[in-house]
Protein backbone atom coordinates (compact mmCIF):
# COMPACT_ATOMS: atom_id res chain seq x y z
CA UNK A 1 0.00 0.00 0.00
CA UNK A 2 2.90 2.32 0.83
CA UNK A 3 4.14 2.09 -2.77
CA UNK A 4 0.75 2.95 -4.18
CA UNK A 5 0.38 6.01 -1.94
CA UNK A 6 3.96 7.10 -2.67
CA UNK A 7 3.46 6.89 -6.44
CA UNK A 8 0.22 8.89 -6.25
CA UNK A 9 1.87 11.58 -4.09
CA UNK A 10 4.89 11.69 -6.42
CA UNK A 11 2.56 12.39 -9.31
CA UNK A 12 0.89 15.13 -7.30
CA UNK A 13 4.12 16.73 -6.04
CA UNK A 14 4.54 19.27 -8.92
CA UNK A 15 0.94 20.46 -8.35
CA UNK A 16 1.64 20.93 -4.65
CA UNK A 17 5.19 22.27 -4.70
CA UNK A 18 5.97 23.32 -8.26
CA UNK A 19 8.24 21.81 -10.93
CA UNK A 20 10.80 19.37 -9.50
CA UNK A 21 9.11 19.01 -6.10
CA UNK A 22 9.60 15.63 -4.48
CA UNK A 23 8.03 13.49 -1.76
CA UNK A 24 10.13 12.34 1.21
CA UNK A 25 9.76 10.41 4.45
CA UNK A 26 6.32 8.93 3.79
CA UNK A 27 5.19 7.18 6.94
CA UNK A 28 1.88 5.66 8.02
CA UNK A 29 0.82 7.16 11.35
CA UNK A 30 -2.35 5.32 12.20
CA UNK A 31 -5.38 3.89 10.70
CA UNK A 32 -8.49 1.96 11.42
CA UNK A 33 -10.33 -0.24 9.00
CA UNK A 34 -11.64 2.67 6.97
CA UNK A 35 -9.30 5.65 7.45
CA UNK A 36 -5.55 6.05 6.94
CA UNK A 37 -3.32 8.87 8.15
CA UNK A 38 0.11 9.39 6.57
CA UNK A 39 2.86 11.89 7.30
CA UNK A 40 5.22 13.00 4.53
CA UNK A 41 7.36 15.92 3.45
CA UNK A 42 7.15 17.91 0.25
CA UNK A 43 10.60 19.08 -0.81
CA UNK A 44 10.70 21.70 -3.55
CA UNK A 45 11.54 25.25 -4.45
CA UNK A 46 9.91 26.57 -1.24
CA UNK A 47 12.02 24.26 0.91
CA UNK A 48 10.62 21.44 2.98
CA UNK A 49 6.97 21.34 4.06
CA UNK A 50 5.62 18.78 6.55
CA UNK A 51 2.23 17.49 5.46
CA UNK A 52 -0.47 15.04 6.49
CA UNK A 53 -2.50 12.88 4.12
CA UNK A 54 -5.88 11.56 5.29
CA UNK A 55 -7.31 8.91 3.03
CA UNK A 56 -10.33 6.63 3.15
CA UNK A 57 -9.44 3.06 2.30
CA UNK A 58 -12.89 1.52 2.45
CA UNK A 59 -16.13 2.57 0.78
CA UNK A 60 -18.02 5.51 2.30
CA UNK A 61 -21.76 5.29 2.88
CA UNK A 62 -23.05 8.79 3.67
CA UNK A 63 -26.42 7.43 4.84
CA UNK A 64 -25.04 4.96 7.39
CA UNK A 65 -21.92 6.84 8.44
CA UNK A 66 -21.76 8.98 11.55
CA UNK A 67 -18.76 10.74 10.11
CA UNK A 68 -18.64 13.19 7.24
CA UNK A 69 -16.86 12.63 3.92
CA UNK A 70 -13.29 13.88 3.58
CA UNK A 71 -14.56 16.48 1.11
CA UNK A 72 -16.89 17.87 3.79
CA UNK A 73 -14.08 17.58 6.35
CA UNK A 74 -11.90 19.73 4.06
CA UNK A 75 -14.72 22.29 3.76
CA UNK A 76 -15.06 22.31 7.58
CA UNK A 77 -11.36 22.98 8.07
CA UNK A 78 -11.57 25.86 5.58
CA UNK A 79 -14.72 27.27 7.21
CA UNK A 80 -13.17 27.09 10.71
CA UNK A 81 -9.98 28.69 9.45
CA UNK A 82 -11.97 31.53 7.87
CA UNK A 83 -13.32 32.55 11.30
CA UNK A 84 -9.86 32.35 12.89
CA UNK A 85 -10.07 28.98 14.65
CA UNK A 86 -6.69 27.22 14.81
CA UNK A 87 -6.62 24.29 12.36
CA UNK A 88 -4.10 22.42 10.28
CA UNK A 89 -4.77 24.33 7.04
CA UNK A 90 -6.03 22.49 4.00
CA UNK A 91 -3.40 22.13 1.28
CA UNK A 92 -5.18 19.97 -1.25
CA UNK A 93 -8.45 18.10 -1.71
CA UNK A 94 -7.79 15.03 -3.82
CA UNK A 95 -9.27 14.96 -7.31
CA UNK A 96 -10.17 11.75 -9.15
CA UNK A 97 -7.06 12.05 -11.36
CA UNK A 98 -4.77 12.14 -8.28
CA UNK A 99 -5.19 8.39 -7.76
CA UNK A 100 -5.57 8.72 -3.98
CA UNK A 101 -9.27 8.00 -3.80
CA UNK A 102 -11.17 10.02 -1.20
CA UNK A 103 -8.40 12.01 0.50
CA UNK A 104 -7.14 15.39 1.57
CA UNK A 105 -3.79 16.88 2.49
CA UNK A 106 -3.22 19.39 5.29
CA UNK A 107 -0.19 21.02 6.84
CA UNK A 108 1.36 19.20 9.76
CA UNK A 109 1.16 21.22 12.99
CA UNK A 110 3.65 20.32 15.70
CA UNK A 111 2.71 19.88 19.33
CA UNK A 112 1.25 17.32 21.71
CA UNK A 113 -2.09 15.51 21.43
CA UNK A 114 -1.69 12.99 24.28
CA UNK A 115 -4.17 14.08 26.94
CA UNK A 116 -2.20 12.67 29.84
CA UNK A 117 0.86 14.72 28.90
CA UNK A 118 -1.16 17.88 28.39
CA UNK A 119 -2.66 17.61 31.89
CA UNK A 120 0.52 16.60 33.74
CA UNK A 121 3.78 17.19 31.82
CA UNK A 122 5.71 20.20 33.25
CA UNK A 123 6.36 21.34 29.67
CA UNK A 124 2.73 22.52 29.58
CA UNK A 125 2.69 24.20 33.01
CA UNK A 126 3.00 27.65 31.45
CA UNK A 127 0.08 27.33 29.00
CA UNK A 128 -2.18 24.99 31.00
CA UNK A 129 -3.94 27.72 33.08
CA UNK A 130 -5.02 29.48 29.88
CA UNK A 131 -6.24 26.44 27.93
CA UNK A 132 -9.85 26.36 29.17
CA UNK A 133 -10.40 30.00 28.26
CA UNK A 134 -8.72 29.42 24.91
CA UNK A 135 -10.97 26.40 24.26
CA UNK A 136 -14.02 28.55 25.01
CA UNK A 137 -12.87 31.19 22.55
CA UNK A 138 -12.12 28.61 19.83
CA UNK A 139 -15.56 27.03 20.26
CA UNK A 140 -17.20 30.46 19.95
CA UNK A 141 -15.33 30.89 16.66
CA UNK A 142 -16.29 27.45 15.35
CA UNK A 143 -19.92 27.97 16.35
CA UNK A 144 -19.99 31.24 14.39
CA UNK A 145 -18.65 29.66 11.20
CA UNK A 146 -20.74 29.16 8.09
CA UNK A 147 -21.46 25.43 7.89
CA UNK A 148 -20.78 23.54 4.67
CA UNK A 149 -23.82 21.98 3.04
CA UNK A 150 -25.00 18.51 3.92
CA UNK A 151 -24.35 18.33 7.68
CA UNK A 152 -26.82 16.48 9.87
CA UNK A 153 -28.62 18.32 12.67
CA UNK A 154 -28.96 16.52 15.99
CA UNK A 155 -30.58 17.72 19.22
CA UNK A 156 -30.38 16.18 22.68
CA UNK A 157 -33.52 14.05 22.40
CA UNK A 158 -32.52 12.67 19.00
CA UNK A 159 -29.05 11.85 20.30
CA UNK A 160 -30.54 10.12 23.35
CA UNK A 161 -32.96 8.16 21.16
CA UNK A 162 -30.13 6.98 18.94
CA UNK A 163 -27.99 5.79 21.85
CA UNK A 164 -30.94 4.31 23.75
CA UNK A 165 -31.72 2.15 20.73
CA UNK A 166 -28.13 0.92 20.64
CA UNK A 167 -28.27 0.26 24.40
CA UNK A 168 -31.58 -1.64 24.14
CA UNK A 169 -30.30 -3.75 21.27
CA UNK A 170 -27.21 -4.67 23.31
CA UNK A 171 -29.44 -6.44 25.85
CA UNK A 172 -27.42 -4.94 28.73
CA UNK A 173 -29.28 -3.99 31.91
CA UNK A 174 -27.37 -1.30 33.77
CA UNK A 175 -29.51 0.67 36.24
CA UNK A 176 -27.37 3.83 36.19
CA UNK A 177 -27.41 4.03 32.38
CA UNK A 178 -31.16 3.37 32.48
CA UNK A 179 -31.69 6.14 35.06
CA UNK A 180 -29.51 8.53 33.05
CA UNK A 181 -31.48 7.89 29.83
CA UNK A 182 -34.82 8.47 31.55
CA UNK A 183 -33.63 11.52 33.49
CA UNK A 184 -32.04 13.22 30.49
CA UNK A 185 -35.08 12.48 28.30
CA UNK A 186 -37.35 14.03 30.92
CA UNK A 187 -35.30 17.22 31.35
CA UNK A 188 -34.01 18.32 27.93
CA UNK A 189 -32.65 21.87 27.68
CA UNK A 190 -34.96 24.40 26.00
CA UNK A 191 -34.60 24.26 22.20
CA UNK A 192 -32.35 26.78 20.49
CA UNK A 193 -31.09 27.35 16.96
CA UNK A 194 -28.48 24.86 15.80
CA UNK A 195 -24.93 26.01 15.10
CA UNK A 196 -21.93 24.36 13.49
CA UNK A 197 -20.34 21.96 16.01
CA UNK A 198 -16.95 20.29 15.93
CA UNK A 199 -18.59 17.16 17.35
CA UNK A 200 -15.53 15.64 19.04
CA UNK A 201 -13.91 18.61 20.79
CA UNK A 202 -12.00 17.06 23.70
CA UNK A 203 -8.54 16.71 25.19
CA UNK A 204 -6.98 14.23 22.76
CA UNK A 205 -8.16 16.00 19.61
CA UNK A 206 -6.31 19.23 20.38
CA UNK A 207 -2.76 19.85 19.18
CA UNK A 208 -1.22 21.72 22.11
CA UNK A 209 2.01 23.69 21.83
CA UNK A 210 4.04 24.35 25.01
CA UNK A 211 4.23 28.05 24.17
CA UNK A 212 1.06 29.02 22.35
CA UNK A 213 -1.45 26.55 23.83
CA UNK A 214 -3.99 25.11 21.37
CA UNK A 215 -2.25 25.19 17.99
CA UNK A 216 -4.83 23.21 16.03
CA UNK A 217 -8.19 21.51 16.47
CA UNK A 218 -8.05 18.07 14.85
CA UNK A 219 -10.47 15.32 13.77
CA UNK A 220 -13.45 17.06 12.24
CA UNK A 221 -15.17 13.92 11.03
CA UNK A 222 -17.98 13.94 13.64
CA UNK A 223 -18.95 17.53 12.90
CA UNK A 224 -22.68 18.29 12.71
CA UNK A 225 -25.23 20.99 13.53
CA UNK A 226 -26.61 21.22 17.05
CA UNK A 227 -26.64 22.78 20.50
CA UNK A 228 -23.44 24.77 21.26
CA UNK A 229 -23.48 23.30 24.77
CA UNK A 230 -22.87 19.88 23.20
CA UNK A 231 -19.29 20.88 22.27
CA UNK A 232 -18.79 22.75 25.58
CA UNK A 233 -20.01 19.74 27.58
CA UNK A 234 -18.05 17.09 25.65
CA UNK A 235 -14.65 18.53 26.63
CA UNK A 236 -15.78 18.38 30.28
CA UNK A 237 -16.58 14.64 30.29
CA UNK A 238 -14.50 13.13 33.10
CA UNK A 239 -13.28 10.29 30.88
CA UNK A 240 -11.03 12.81 29.08
CA UNK A 241 -9.64 14.50 32.18
CA UNK A 242 -6.86 11.90 32.40
CA UNK A 243 -6.88 11.53 36.15
CA UNK A 244 -7.36 15.24 36.89
CA UNK A 245 -11.05 15.06 37.72
CA UNK A 246 -10.57 18.17 39.87
CA UNK A 247 -10.08 20.24 36.70
CA UNK A 248 -13.37 19.78 34.84
CA UNK A 249 -12.38 21.19 31.45
CA UNK A 250 -10.21 18.54 29.79
CA UNK A 251 -8.29 17.93 33.03
CA UNK A 252 -6.68 21.35 32.64
CA UNK A 253 -9.22 24.06 33.52
CA UNK A 254 -12.39 25.38 35.12
CA UNK A 255 -15.94 25.69 33.78
CA UNK A 256 -15.90 29.44 34.48
CA UNK A 257 -12.86 29.99 32.26
CA UNK A 258 -14.35 27.93 29.42
CA UNK A 259 -17.62 29.89 29.52
CA UNK A 260 -15.93 33.29 30.00
CA UNK A 261 -13.65 32.60 27.04
CA UNK A 262 -16.71 31.63 25.01
CA UNK A 263 -18.53 34.90 25.73
CA UNK A 264 -15.42 37.07 25.38
CA UNK A 265 -14.94 35.71 21.85
CA UNK A 266 -18.49 36.60 20.86
CA UNK A 267 -20.36 33.47 21.94
CA UNK A 268 -23.70 33.59 23.71
CA UNK A 269 -24.05 33.30 27.48
CA UNK A 270 -24.63 29.61 28.12
CA UNK A 271 -25.75 28.50 31.59
CA UNK A 272 -23.47 26.01 33.32
CA UNK A 273 -26.50 23.74 33.87
CA UNK A 274 -26.83 23.32 30.11
CA UNK A 275 -23.14 22.39 29.83
CA UNK A 276 -23.52 19.88 32.68
CA UNK A 277 -26.54 18.34 30.92
CA UNK A 278 -24.46 17.74 27.80
CA UNK A 279 -21.51 16.57 29.88
CA UNK A 280 -23.76 13.91 31.41
CA UNK A 281 -25.12 13.00 27.97
CA UNK A 282 -21.50 12.71 26.87
CA UNK A 283 -20.64 10.31 29.71
CA UNK A 284 -23.72 8.29 28.84
CA UNK A 285 -22.73 8.13 25.16
CA UNK A 286 -19.20 7.04 26.07
CA UNK A 287 -20.65 4.39 28.40
CA UNK A 288 -22.77 2.99 25.56
CA UNK A 289 -19.77 3.11 23.21
CA UNK A 290 -17.73 1.09 25.73
CA UNK A 291 -20.56 -1.44 25.93
CA UNK A 292 -20.58 -1.73 22.14
CA UNK A 293 -16.83 -2.28 21.99
CA UNK A 294 -17.29 -5.14 24.44
CA UNK A 295 -20.24 -6.40 22.36
CA UNK A 296 -18.01 -6.54 19.27
CA UNK A 297 -15.79 -8.95 21.23
CA UNK A 298 -18.66 -10.93 22.73
CA UNK A 299 -20.23 -11.58 19.32
CA UNK A 300 -16.93 -12.57 17.75
CA UNK A 301 -16.46 -9.58 15.41
CA UNK A 302 -13.24 -8.55 17.18
CA UNK A 303 -10.79 -10.79 19.00
CA UNK A 304 -8.35 -8.28 20.53
CA UNK A 305 -7.98 -8.26 24.35
CA UNK A 306 -8.48 -4.51 24.16
CA UNK A 307 -12.20 -4.76 23.39
CA UNK A 308 -13.44 -6.67 26.44
CA UNK A 309 -11.22 -4.51 28.67
CA UNK A 310 -12.87 -1.37 27.29
CA UNK A 311 -16.12 -3.00 28.46
CA UNK A 312 -14.80 -2.59 32.00
CA UNK A 313 -14.75 1.16 31.43
CA UNK A 314 -18.56 1.35 31.43
CA UNK A 315 -18.41 1.59 35.24
CA UNK A 316 -16.33 4.80 35.05
CA UNK A 317 -19.15 6.51 33.18
CA UNK A 318 -21.65 5.09 35.67
CA UNK A 319 -19.88 6.45 38.74
CA UNK A 320 -19.60 9.85 37.01
CA UNK A 321 -23.28 9.82 36.01
CA UNK A 322 -24.54 8.90 39.47
CA UNK A 323 -22.35 11.65 40.96
CA UNK A 324 -23.67 14.23 38.48
CA UNK A 325 -27.20 13.18 39.47
CA UNK A 326 -26.31 13.50 43.17
CA UNK A 327 -24.89 16.95 42.40
CA UNK A 328 -28.33 18.00 41.21
CA UNK A 329 -28.27 17.44 37.43
Amino acid sequence: MQGEVFEALKGLAPTLGGEGAEIADLQRLSGGASMETWAFALVGGRGREELILRRRSGPFDPEAARSVSLEVEAALITAASAVGAPVAPLVHLARPQDGLGEAHITRRISGETLGRKIVSDPRFDAVRPGLARQCGAILAQIHSATPPAGLKTVDALEELARYEEVYRNSGAERPILELAFQHLKKHPPPPRPAVLLHGDFRNGNLMVDPEQGVAAVLDWELSHMGDPAEDLGWICVNSWRFGRSDRPVGGFGEYRDLLDGYVAAGGEEIPLSRVLYWQALGSLKWGVMCLMMYASYANGTEVSVERPMIGRRVSETEIDLVTLLENGL
Partner: protein, 121 residues
Amino acid sequence: MIDHPRAEELLDAVAGWIDCVRSELNPRDAFLARVAANALSVVRRELLQGGAAEAAATQRLSELLGRDGSLPELNADLCARLREGAMDRDTPGLLAALKANIVEQIAIDQPNYAPEPGRLA
Protein backbone atom coordinates in the same frame (compact mmCIF):
# COMPACT_ATOMS: atom_id res chain seq x y z
CA MET B 1 1.96 -25.90 53.46
CA ILE B 2 2.23 -26.44 49.74
CA ASP B 3 -1.03 -27.84 48.44
CA HIS B 4 -1.85 -26.71 44.91
CA PRO B 5 -1.40 -23.35 43.17
CA ARG B 6 -4.20 -21.02 44.11
CA ALA B 7 -5.93 -18.99 41.38
CA GLU B 8 -4.09 -15.81 42.45
CA GLU B 9 -0.76 -17.60 42.15
CA LEU B 10 -1.58 -18.66 38.60
CA LEU B 11 -2.52 -15.07 37.79
CA ASP B 12 0.75 -13.84 39.28
CA ALA B 13 2.71 -16.36 37.23
CA VAL B 14 1.06 -15.27 33.96
CA ALA B 15 1.42 -11.58 34.85
CA GLY B 16 5.09 -12.13 35.60
CA TRP B 17 5.59 -13.85 32.26
CA ILE B 18 3.88 -11.00 30.37
CA ASP B 19 6.21 -8.58 32.15
CA CYS B 20 9.25 -10.62 31.05
CA VAL B 21 8.41 -10.66 27.35
CA ARG B 22 6.91 -7.18 27.06
CA SER B 23 10.14 -5.38 26.22
CA GLU B 24 10.76 -7.69 23.27
CA LEU B 25 7.43 -6.96 21.60
CA ASN B 26 6.61 -4.54 18.80
CA PRO B 27 4.75 -1.40 19.95
CA ARG B 28 1.27 -2.71 19.15
CA ASP B 29 1.83 -6.03 20.95
CA ALA B 30 3.56 -4.27 23.84
CA PHE B 31 0.44 -2.15 24.23
CA LEU B 32 -1.80 -5.22 24.12
CA ALA B 33 0.45 -6.97 26.64
CA ARG B 34 -0.12 -4.08 29.02
CA VAL B 35 -3.86 -4.38 28.44
CA ALA B 36 -3.61 -8.12 29.10
CA ALA B 37 -1.74 -7.49 32.35
CA ASN B 38 -4.47 -5.04 33.35
CA ALA B 39 -7.09 -7.67 32.55
CA LEU B 40 -5.36 -10.07 34.95
CA SER B 41 -5.42 -7.38 37.63
CA VAL B 42 -9.18 -7.03 37.16
CA VAL B 43 -9.59 -10.80 37.48
CA ARG B 44 -7.45 -10.81 40.64
CA ARG B 45 -9.52 -8.07 42.26
CA GLU B 46 -12.74 -9.73 41.21
CA LEU B 47 -11.62 -13.00 42.82
CA LEU B 48 -10.82 -11.21 46.06
CA GLN B 49 -13.60 -8.61 46.24
CA GLY B 50 -16.29 -9.82 43.83
CA GLY B 51 -18.16 -12.13 46.20
CA ALA B 52 -18.54 -9.57 48.96
CA ALA B 53 -19.44 -6.83 46.46
CA GLU B 54 -22.13 -9.01 44.89
CA ALA B 55 -23.62 -9.91 48.28
CA ALA B 56 -23.67 -6.27 49.34
CA ALA B 57 -25.23 -5.18 46.03
CA THR B 58 -27.92 -7.85 46.35
CA GLN B 59 -28.71 -6.67 49.89
CA ARG B 60 -28.92 -3.01 48.81
CA LEU B 61 -31.19 -3.68 45.84
CA SER B 62 -33.36 -5.99 47.92
CA GLU B 63 -33.91 -3.21 50.47
CA LEU B 64 -34.48 -0.61 47.79
CA LEU B 65 -37.04 -2.71 45.93
CA GLY B 66 -38.63 -4.29 49.00
CA ARG B 67 -38.32 -7.85 47.70
CA ASP B 68 -35.98 -10.81 47.61
CA GLY B 69 -34.25 -12.28 44.60
CA SER B 70 -30.94 -12.98 42.95
CA LEU B 71 -28.80 -10.03 41.83
CA PRO B 72 -29.72 -10.48 38.13
CA GLU B 73 -33.44 -10.62 39.03
CA LEU B 74 -33.25 -7.55 41.25
CA ASN B 75 -31.16 -5.70 38.69
CA ALA B 76 -33.69 -6.46 35.93
CA ASP B 77 -36.56 -5.38 38.19
CA LEU B 78 -34.80 -2.10 39.03
CA CYS B 79 -34.11 -1.38 35.34
CA ALA B 80 -37.76 -2.06 34.48
CA ARG B 81 -39.01 0.29 37.22
CA LEU B 82 -36.61 3.02 36.07
CA ARG B 83 -37.63 2.54 32.45
CA GLU B 84 -41.33 2.76 33.34
CA GLY B 85 -40.80 5.83 35.50
CA ALA B 86 -41.92 4.08 38.70
CA MET B 87 -38.58 5.15 40.17
CA ASP B 88 -36.48 8.18 39.31
CA ARG B 89 -33.65 10.35 40.63
CA ASP B 90 -35.80 11.58 43.51
CA THR B 91 -36.80 8.12 44.78
CA PRO B 92 -35.52 7.96 48.38
CA GLY B 93 -32.47 5.73 48.71
CA LEU B 94 -32.04 5.15 44.96
CA LEU B 95 -28.93 7.24 44.32
CA ALA B 96 -27.29 6.09 47.57
CA ALA B 97 -27.75 2.41 46.65
CA LEU B 98 -26.55 2.92 43.06
CA LYS B 99 -23.56 4.91 44.29
CA ALA B 100 -22.54 2.28 46.86
CA ASN B 101 -22.81 -0.48 44.24
CA ILE B 102 -20.81 1.36 41.60
CA VAL B 103 -18.10 2.37 44.08
CA GLU B 104 -17.50 -1.33 44.72
CA GLN B 105 -17.59 -2.13 40.99
CA ILE B 106 -15.06 0.56 40.09
CA ALA B 107 -12.81 -0.71 42.89
CA ILE B 108 -12.61 -3.92 40.85
CA ASP B 109 -12.57 -2.43 37.33
CA GLN B 110 -10.33 0.64 37.76
CA PRO B 111 -9.29 1.32 41.36
CA ASN B 112 -7.19 4.31 40.28
CA TYR B 113 -10.01 6.04 38.41
CA ALA B 114 -10.59 9.56 39.74
CA PRO B 115 -14.36 10.00 39.61
CA GLU B 116 -16.37 13.15 39.04
CA PRO B 117 -16.06 15.14 42.29
CA GLY B 118 -19.13 15.47 44.48
CA ARG B 119 -20.44 18.96 44.96
CA LEU B 120 -18.87 20.46 48.08
CA ALA B 121 -21.39 20.91 50.84
